[in-house]
Assembly symmetry: C2
Homo-oligomer: 219 residues x 2
């Protein structure tokens, strides 16, 4: 039963893992307002998620709410932050340091969520050898060699779509075990590689469609 | 039956809308390689989506595959691009032009997918009055006034989480009908407002968890 405390290593359903940061964002707000307790019903009202779902999601954590009072806000902030891994340092490299990649290197938000980008890699001679916010940009062909000393846990993939698979292959050859894929291309990887797809442009398609439909409704 | 041609205004399921850009990315590759036809079975192999699902998704488009030959690649690229709205110009404003917002303004990828950011808005006096890649940054309190001439369809929300709801309220008051929410905060909006949540930091939580679990498996 000792394993129960070791919650950070349980394999959680992806929808749960995506909701937990919403709860964290909300309880951080409450904490800033010096509110001491919050119930899953209150969180439910704010976040638009069913309160029984919230209780279930939070049951993965090493925290218990008190009947009629709810969860202690401070503890919830701490447990969620720990649990989500936002306090650990995860070393990452940026593969493709062009427009999107360069932009992400400059986003200090990532470091607030536990991700430190230590190097960028590209094919473009005009940016190889330069640096973005003190992050050096190297030739993509140096990835395997540099990785020996960098020992990055995660590679962020932000290359043009036609180079996505090639770049992913280079990442895997270098020994990096996780790829955060910002391209709209579904890269193929061995099953031991962790893949997270974040194609922000695909979200645009959803928004455009909803806007068109709502325009139509007004006609 | 004339409505059938007017496919871009059908309300599509969100999973379909998120998959269509993957197909587009792939058929653009094929097109660049001068490949003329592709079957849903071939797409399925590349994209890791069931071929019957692909055929179903593509049935929303104004395109028909030929038996045993498949879809014409050129036509598929054109229809998908049109259908997804990536060729129309959607005017957007950036609310919060700090680290992430500033980075997104610099991402030319967005304009390739039909989104033009014409202005940024912030509360920080040190960036109000400046510009990022020729996009002027105004005071957030000028949003309603500026919107009269800008007439933006979409507001991109990239403010610190504690200001997310306030900023969303200002967006709605200005008359903008769609919010692309990059904060991890679940903002509350009237039902006529189109919301798309893209909390990239929530994806980090998924990746961190999977990495921890795979480390454990190796012990």
């Amino acid at each position: 039963m000792n394993d129960i405390k070791n919650t950070s290593k349980a394999f959680l359903p992806e929808p749960t893992l995506r909701r937990l940061p919403w709860y964290l964002a909300y309880v951080q707000l409450l904490n800033a307002r010096h509110i001491e307790y919050v119930s899953s019903t209150q969180i439910a009202k704010e976040i638009n998620v069913d309160s029984s779902q919230i209780a279930k999601d939070l049951s993965f954590l090493n925290i218990k709410g008190k009947t009629r009072i709810g969860y202690e806000v401070k503890t919830l902030v701490k447990e969620l932050t720990d649990f989500l891994g936002f306090k650990h340092k995860h070393t990452a490299v940026m593969i493709g340091a062009g427009s999107l990649g360069g932009a992400l290197i400059q986003d200090i938000g990532l470091s607030q969520y536990g991700m430190t980008i230590v190097a960028g890699f590209d094919v473009n001679p005009s940016i190889i050898g330069t640096s973005i916010r003190n992050v050096p940009i190297y030739d993509i062909n140096e990835l395997a060699e540099k990785q020996k000393s960098i020992n990055a846990a995660i590679a962020i993939l932000a290359v043009p779509v036609e180079h996505a698979q090639d770049a992913a292959n280079k990442i895997i050859e270098s020994g990096i075990k996780a790829i955060w894929n910002f391209t709209p291309y579904r890269i193929k990887t061995p099953t031991n590689i962790v893949i997270q797809n974040t194609s922000i442009y695909a979200h645009l398609a959803v928004m455009y469609n909803r806007l068109e439909v709502s325009k139509d409704l007004k006609k």
